[in-house]
């Protein structure tokens, strides 16, 4: 177990790169496939059963100005931890901050007291204290960890988890090299200051608003009356179709494995090799659209769990989600390109055969405005342009699967229509085949939830015993977020019954996408085929849409349930009691 010196000052991103770039080990063509990893050696990757992590403040520089990050073993992101399924891991986390801290193992099935959520799972880790996590690892795949205290996640406290299958077992796909690709958003501003600005002026960071010019453009296109009518709904609701992201590249620098675009994170390959890329969105607030121009990506796992392979050009990765893809690059240099959902910025990295090559960045896409579908008014294709025929087919199939003949009883939950609830989606639909705003009709094959099928058969999973409906609600003007109109501070815990199979339906009554994350239990997402429910820990609920998943309530105790957008989470949060 390599012990870190207590402080490693990262004087510049360049130094940082040396420290935690996934120093690609020149390969081992020993023929033993599916075991090779390239996430590196040294302090940036820690393997084994026992780990010592120290949380501290460290100077970083991503923007040209030094700033203070919250780091693990002096690194940001923290070291990649490599575990093995079936083994017990022990993690000693020492807090050298002057405030309480915590580490939550995102997506990991474990006892509630090891989950790392202050005031729900444990008391948090007080300054100067060491907390020891110990549990047996019951899964494998790509996961991550992060602080659940204050805004520490935004200031750098997050890192990747790679869990290898049990000794002697393999994953249902092959590859020659293995890289973690963590995406994150860094700001030199204090998170408290970002949050305050959003409360005072919620569009503070939005520099992609509708202008008078846009309106006259529409007038020229369809005449004044039609253009005015088209705006009517938005104007009456006092909402903007450009409300794509609360916090943008105006303050954010986007990072790939802790490096900004200029410092270009590199991954090496040899022509003909299969390269596994474990994309993890470790951002506080940024949803990324990821593609590698010139390469097809075969998506093989979602949120750590294998799916039926699907070849795509591009995928959207919400905060806290992970996708494992396999690519087979030929000679040359390829850009791993991640642009933010609002197209305010991007970060690129390079996949190449030799060091020192920088792949050319493609231009960012133009931002697309939200449509009526994103306001919960009908289908996403109702903008007049039809999708591909295959999509239309998928859609009918889905409708059938989505309308169960014997609906299960719905447990009523308290709701509060008040100041914090601006909009109600009038006709929310399951839009699983909708790639989402910004990715529609872009000519590329974009992954949607409708493409995801569990690798394993789920036909034997029990049918739901009951259903709960949770409305994701908010007031963008006042920057208030809640569930069912009730923010966390005023909410009673949700009660799940041990042993039951629960169906959860989310209705998004806001114009923002919300990645909803349930701790301690899996979310088995309905994507159109009951025999292939997709096992996820974080599910993106699109604006104005609904989505359903099933939960086998097999973990007693108290758990957190929340939106993973950091500045939404404060209100859009529930405590779950499994009794």
């Amino acid at each position: 177990m390599p012990k870190m010196t207590r402080r490693t000052f990262l004087q510049s991103a360049a130094v940082a790169a040396l420290l935690y770039g996934a120093s690609p080990s020149v390969s081992r063509a020993d023929g033993r496939r599916n075991q090779t990893d390239s996430f590196g050696k040294g302090p940036s990757v820690l393997k084994g059963n026992e780990f010592h992590l120290t949380i501290d403040r460290t100077v970083v520089n991503f923007t040209g100005k030094p700033a203070i990050a919250t780091t693990v073993n002096g690194m940001m992101p923290g070291p990649t931890l490599v575990w093995r399924e079936g083994e017990e891991v022990t993690i000693h986390v020492t807090n050298r901050l002057d405030v309480s801290t915590s580490i939550h193992w995102h997506g990991i099935i474990l006892p509630p007291e090891m989950d790392g959520v202050p005031d729900i799972s444990f008391d948090g880790i007080a300054p100067g204290e060491t907390f020891t996590y110990r549990f047996t690892v019951r899964q494998h795949g790509t996961y991550w960890y992060h602080s659940h205290s204050g805004f520490q996640e935004q200031t750098g406290l997050h890192g990747a988890l790679v869990i290898l299958p049990k000794k002697g077992e393999t994953e249902p796909f092959e590859y020659d090299r293995d890289y973690v690709v963590s995406l994150s958003d860094w700001s030199d501003e204090k998170p408290e200051s970002i949050y305050r600005k959003l409360k005072i002026q919620s569009d503070y960071y939005n520099f992609n608003q509708r202008t008078v010019g846009d309106f006259f453009h529409e007038v020229a296109e369809k005449g004044f009356v039609e253009a005015f009518k088209a705006r009517k709904m938005w104007n009456e609701m006092r909402m903007s179709d450009r409300d794509l992201s609360d916090v943008t590249a105006y303050t954010y620098t986007f990072l790939m494995n802790g490096r900004n675009d200029r410092d270009d994170w590199h991954a090496l390959f040899r022509p003909g090799e299969k390269v596994r890329l474990r994309f993890i969105n470790q951002s506080a607030m940024t949803i990324f659209d990821v593609r590698i121009p010139g390469l097809k990506m075969r998506v093989v796992a979602a949120d750590g769990n294998p799916v039926q392979p699907v070849d795509v050009d591009e995928f959207r990765i919400a905060v806290a989600e992970s996708y494992d893809v396999i690519v087979e690059p030929e000679e040359g240099a390829y850009c791993l390109f991640a642009q933010s959902i609002d197209r305010s910025g991007f970060v690129g990295g390079t996949l190449c055969t030799e060091r020192g090559v920088r792949a050319k960045r493609p231009p960012m896409d133009k931002p697309q405005p939200l449509t009526m579908a994103d306001m919960g008014m009908g289908d996403w294709k109702s903008d007049g342009r039809m999708g591909h025929e295959t999509m239309a087919m998928d859609h009918t199939k889905m409708k059938m699967a989505m309308t169960p003949e014997n609906p299960w009883p719905v447990t009523p939950l308290p709701m509060r229509k008040g100041v914090g609830w601006t909009m109600t989606a009038m006709d929310p639909r399951y839009r699983l085949d909708d790639p989402g705003v910004g990715l529609r009709h872009n000519g590329r094959r974009v992954l949607t939830y409708a493409d995801l099928r569990n690798y394993y058969c789920t036909a034997d999973d029990p049918q739901p015993d009951r259903e709960i409906v949770l409305h994701l609600t908010g007031n963008m003007e006042r920057y208030i977020w809640s569930i069912n109109g009730i923010k966390y501070a005023d909410a009673e815990p949700l009660c799940f019954h041990y042993g039951e199979r629960l169906r959860v339906t989310f209705v998004n009554d806001t114009m923002m996408p919300h990645p909803m994350h349930l701790h301690g239990m899996w979310s088995d997402l309905e994507t159109g085929d009951d025999a292939r429910l997709v096992r996820k820990h974080t599910v993106l609920v699109q604006p104005g849409a609904k989505i359903s998943y099933r939960v086998t309530v097999d973990a007693r105790g108290s758990w957190a349930y929340h939106c993973h957008m950091l500045y939404h989470m404060l209100g859009m949060f529930r405590k779950v009691e499994v009794v």
């Binding site: 202050p118 005031d119 005072i200 002026q201 608003q209 100041v419 601006t422 003007e477 815990p493």
Partner: protein, 222 residues
Amino acid sequence: MKKILISTMLAASLFAEMNDDPLRATLLADRLEWQATDGDPVAWDVAAYAGYDIDKLYFYSEGSTQSDETESENELLYSRAVTPFWDLQGGLEMDTAGSERKYWGILAIQGLAPYFIDTRIRLKISDEAVGVNFDFEYEALLTQRLILTPRIEMEAYSADVPELGIGSGFSSLAMGLRLRYEIVREFAPYVGVEYVNGFGDTKKVYGMKEDARFVAGVRFWF
């Protein structure tokens, strides 16, 4: 009831470090300008608040100084969010005109009307008169940072208020058009025009004249 109270208290103590609704205070100088007319007036329109999502304490001040004579309206109000877009406000207003002072009780609604019109409607009540004040403002984005703001303010009173030079009935109208450039969100210089006119006795007896003037100033907040 008791159960709800206890659970609310518990929930509030959870996440002690992550308060969704922290106390905040801000001051917005929407207008701070020089006006090109006789007496070189300097005018201001400032709003400050401290509080939470639902409850706030507001201070407003609007006025001008012209040829060493200062006129102002100053309000101190409790403001409560009552619907997603509207706040209900109540408190006290002190108006000044030179050395004169006049106090009012205030009831107001403030918020964002459909079509993104910033709206504030004030009912002013004193022992002698009742007044209403309408204030509407719209922000038209020419670019992401160049913003044109038309604004209109109207006043009417039930009776003469001689201390303030106001006649009964529809008393005054102010219309402005300002073009600002947001160097950062918090700081924007602007230029514009302002048109004012008095009606009825406000014009005839108290001498408020029709006037259109060029203005230049800054808008800032922190």
